[in-house]
Symmetry: C2
Subunit: 133 residues, 2 copies
């Protein structure tokens, strides 16, 4: 059994990772953390990339400390994050995918992003949507 | 601990209920099944209502047989299903809400309904979105 989580360095992304780890411990499943990048110069900023690598390394250490079986995969395949998450979830026969969602904005505007919508609609496994705390 | 599921008599609704029951057994949580109706004559069809009551009774018996602590609440408060689910989840401090989602339609049209969007965006707890099997 595996749970797949899309990792982004935002409050929602961290909340998703935390919840995914808890769900893995509960059902003795493997955690697969996906960091998805489209690639190409437009997607690349050296400072940001090195900060993100440091953050991912911190995440991996934390999962190690919790004794949780896990993998951290950085994918640069020209895909949208939705495609990467769905394809990994299918290949691993995942129990579910965890994604972070922003709350409705202060002006009440709907902000369900296109990646979230695609994952919710196209993943064949269940999707757990988590808000920041 | 409680898990709240919105029940509708569709393949997606049944898949959501099944998954919610499994998650309750896994974490020893109480299952709260919500059947939400707006009320008023437009919402009421005697035949449909009696069929739905029979289906809900069948659901309750099945949960009973599984030995799962549960409640089945039929709400007719003039609310959208999204409002009813969110308010119950908040009152019960639910672990999460489970909803059924249709897959993308054959022509690829996005069909994430307004109730699903509202629950995903406005619920403060996580939301598990489940497809029909």
């Amino acid at each position: 059994m595996a749970i797949v989580v899309g990792y982004v360095a935002t409050r929602e992304g961290r909340a998703a990772l935390k919840r995914a780890a808890e769900e893995c411990l509960l059902r003795n499943a493997k955690l697969i953390v996906i960091s998805s990048h489209r690639g190409g110069s437009k997607d690349f900023d050296a400072d940001e990339a090195s900060q993100f690598e440091a953050e991912l390394a911190r995440v991996a250490r934390q999962l190690q400390d919790e004794g949780l079986e896990h993998e951290v995969r950085t994918l640069v395949r020209g895909n949208d994050p939705a495609e990467d998450l769905i394809s990994v979830a299918e290949a691993e026969n995942a129990d579910f995918i965890v994604i972070g969602l922003r709350r409705r904005s202060p002006v009440g505007k709907l902000i369900l992003g296109s990646n979230a919508q695609r994952i919710l609609l196209d993943a064949s496994c269940p999707v757990l949507a988590v808000k920041a705390e």
